[in-house]
Amino acid sequence: MLSDWFSDNETLIQAALAGALLAYSFQIALRAGVFTLGGVGFWAIGGYTTAYLVTEREWATVPAIGVGLLLSAVIGLGLALVLGRLRALYLAMATVAFVLLVQIVAINWEDVTGGAGGLFGIPVTVSTTQVFLVVLVVSIALVFFERGARGRTIEAMRLDEQLAQSVGIDVVRERHLIFVLSSVLAALSGGISAVMFNTLAPEQAGFHLITDTLMMVVIGGAAAWWGALVGAIIVTWLPELLRFAEDYRQIIEAAIVVLVIVYAPEGIVGLVRRVRGLLSGRRPPTATPFADIAAATSPDRGHSQPEAELPPAAGRDPRPATQARNPD
C-alpha cells in the first residue's frame, strides 16, 4: 500500500524535497531578518554547475554538487559584502536584480547552459531515498541552528538589529553568515533538482520560482524550519488538490499567497504557536518577520512611524519574544 503510494507520487515527493531545501534557504534568511530573494539565483548556479560537470565533464554527482555549493558560497559571500549595507526593500530589490541577472547569463552563455532552451538529458544519478536523507540531515542541522544561544542571536537580529548590536552580537558577520548559508542551501536544492529531473532551463529560475518558494515559506511560516517543510509539501501538492480548478489553478494559487500574507502572515507556524499558547495560557511570542499584530492597537498610527518599531503599546507582551519562548 505505502510503497504503491510512493511510486505513484514519486515525482511530487521529489519536487517537495527539492522545494523544501530551497524553502529552507529562504526561511533561514527571513528568520534572521535578511530579506534576500537571491536564493533562486543560487538555485540556478548550483543547478547549472552540477548539470555541466555531470554531463559535459562526466564527474561523479557528489563532487559536482560540491563544486556548485562552493561556487555559490563564494558568490554568496561576495554578494553579501557588496549588499551588506542594504536593508529591507533595497536588499529585496538588489537580490531580485541578481536573480534576473543570473537568468540573463543562463540564456546567453550557451556553451555551458544550453541557452534559452536549457539542458536536456542530464543523467539521473540520485534516488529519492538519498535526497530524503539529505533533507533529513539538513533539517536536523536546522533544529540545532534554531536552538540555544545561536538561535536566540538570530532571532534578536531580526527583532531589533541595533539592540542586538548593543548586546555584543556581531550583526555584520552574522548577516554574512546567513547570506552564505542561504546561498549554499539554495545551490544544494538546484544541484539536486538538476540530477533528479534531468532537465534545466533558464525559465525555471525566474520570477515563477521566487513566487513558488515565497509561497512555501509564507504558507508554512518563516519562524521555524518546519514551517518551510510543511509549506513545501503543501505547495507541491496544491496543483493536485486544485485539479478541479483546471485553468484557474495558477490564479487561485497566487490568490492564496495574497490572502495568507494579508490575513495570516505568520503562516501555519504562527497558527500552531497561537493554539499552543492558548492551551498553555501564555501569550504567543512574536512569530514571524512579517507581523506583529498584537502591537497594531490602532489602524493608521504606527505605519511609517519610527517610534513604532519599539512600541510600548498596551496589550503587548513586554518580554522579548526570545525570552517568552525560552524562559531559561
Partner: protein, 297 residues
C-alpha cells in the same frame, strides 16, 4: 555611436521613463515596492490586444482606456492587499516586506490570468490600431510610432513633475512621503492619497504597456519582467521616490545600454542594468540626483 543610435536611446529611454515613474512614485510615497508593476504594465498591452481583437480602434481610444483600467487594477491591489497590511502590521519594516510579498503574489495572479487569456501564445495588438509608417526626423530614420512614444513620455513626465512640484495635491503627496501621521492631523487622508498614487502609478504602467506592445508588436504574459530589472536600476540611479531623478536616469540607462550595444556585444547589454545597480549601491547609494537621506542603511 552616431545620431541614429542616439535616437534609439531617446525611444528606449522614453519607455523606461514611463515604466519607472510609477514604480518610483509608489515606493517613494507609500513605501510600496510594487513588484506587480511589471504585470500591470503587461496588462496594459493585453487589454489593448483584447479590445482590438475584432475591430480596430484608434490608439487614442485604446491607450486612455488601458490607462484607466490599469490604474483601477493598481487601486484594487491597494484596497484588497496593501491597505489591509498597513492596517494590521504596525512595524514599518514588517509591513514593507509583507506588502512586497503580497505584490509578488498579485503580480503572479495577473500573469496567470494573462496566460489563460492568451493561452501561452504570443499575441499582437491589431496593427490597424496605429498604422506604423517609416518617416524621417532631422534626416534620421524613424517611425511615426516612435515619435508618438517619445511625445507621450515627454507629456506624461512633464505633467507628473509639474503635478508633484507645483500643485496642492502634489504637495500633499510629498508631505505623505515625509510623515503620514502628521498628514492625517493636517486633514490629508493618507488612504485617499495612497489610492490616488496607486492609480497614477498603474495608469503610467498601462500607457507604457500599450506603447511597448505596439513597438514590439507582441504581448505575452511575461512582458514586464525584463523591465523590472531596468526599472530597479533607474530608481537606484535616480534616487528612490524622485520622479525627476527617474526621468534622467531612464535616459542615462538607455544611453549606457546602447553604448555597450555598439562598442561591446548585445549579450552584455542586459547586464548593464545590474552592473549599474551594484556600482551605485557601492559608491553612491542615495542615487545620482537625490538629496533624500539613504534609508536606514
Amino acid at each position: 555611436m552616431n545620431a541614429q543610435d542616439l535616437l534609439n536611446v531617446v525611444v528606449i529611454g522614453s519607455i523606461y521613463t514611463l515604466f519607472a515613474m510609477g514604480l518610483t512614485l509608489s515606493w517613494g510615497v507609500l513605501n510600496i515596492l510594487n513588484l506587480a508593476h511589471g504585470a500591470i504594465f503587461m496588462f496594459g498591452g493585453l487589454l489593448a490586444y483584447l479590445v482590438t481583437q475584432d475591430s480596430a480602434l484608434s490608439l487614442w481610444i485604446v491607450m486612455p482606456m488601458s490607462m484607466v483600467v490599469c490604474g483601477l487594477i493598481a487601486v484594487l491591489l491597494e484596497l484588497v492587499a496593501y491597505r489591509p497590511i498597513r492596517r494590521r502590521v504596525a512595524d514599518l519594516h514588517a509591513s514593507e516586506l509583507a506588502t512586497l510579498i503580497a505584490s509578488i503574489g498579485a503580480g503572479a495572479m495577473l500573469v496567470a490570468i494573462a496566460e489563460n487569456v492568451t493561452e501561452n501564445q504570443l499575441v499582437g495588438i491589431n496593427p490597424e490600431t496605429f498604422v506604423v509608417e517609416q518617416t524621417s526626423f532631422l534626416g534620421l530614420r524613424t517611425t511615426n510610432l516612435e515619435i508618438v512614444i517619445v511625445a507621450i513620455a515627454a507629456l506624461l513626465s512633464v505633467t507628473l513633475t509639474l503635478f508633484i512640484t507645483r500643485s496642492r495635491h502634489g504637495r500633499a503627496l510629498r508631505a505623505l512621503a515625509q510623515d503620514p501621521y502628521t498628514c492625517g492631523l493636517l486633514g490629508i487622508s493618507p488612504d485617499r492619497m495612497a489610492a490616488a498614487t496607486m492609480f497614477v502609478s498603474g495608469a503610467l504602467a498601462g500607457a507604457a504597456g500599450v506603447l511597448l506592445a505596439m513597438q514590439l508588436n507582441t504581448v505575452e504574459a511575461r512582458l514586464g519582467e525584463p523591465l523590472l530589472l531596468k526599472a530597479f536600476a533607474v530608481i537606484i540611479l535616480g534616487g528612490v521616490g524622485s520622479v525627476q531623478g527617474a526621468i534622467a536616469a531612464a535616459f542615462l540607462l538607455a544611453l549606457a545600454e546602447t553604448f555597450t550595444d555598439v562598442y561591446a556585444s548585445t549579450s552584455v547589454r542586459d547586464a548593464v542594468a545590474f552592473g549599474l545597480i551594484i556600482v551605485l549601491l557601492l559608491f553612491r547609494p542615495q542615487g545620482l540626483f537625490s538629496r533624500v537621506a539613504w534609508q536606514r542603511a
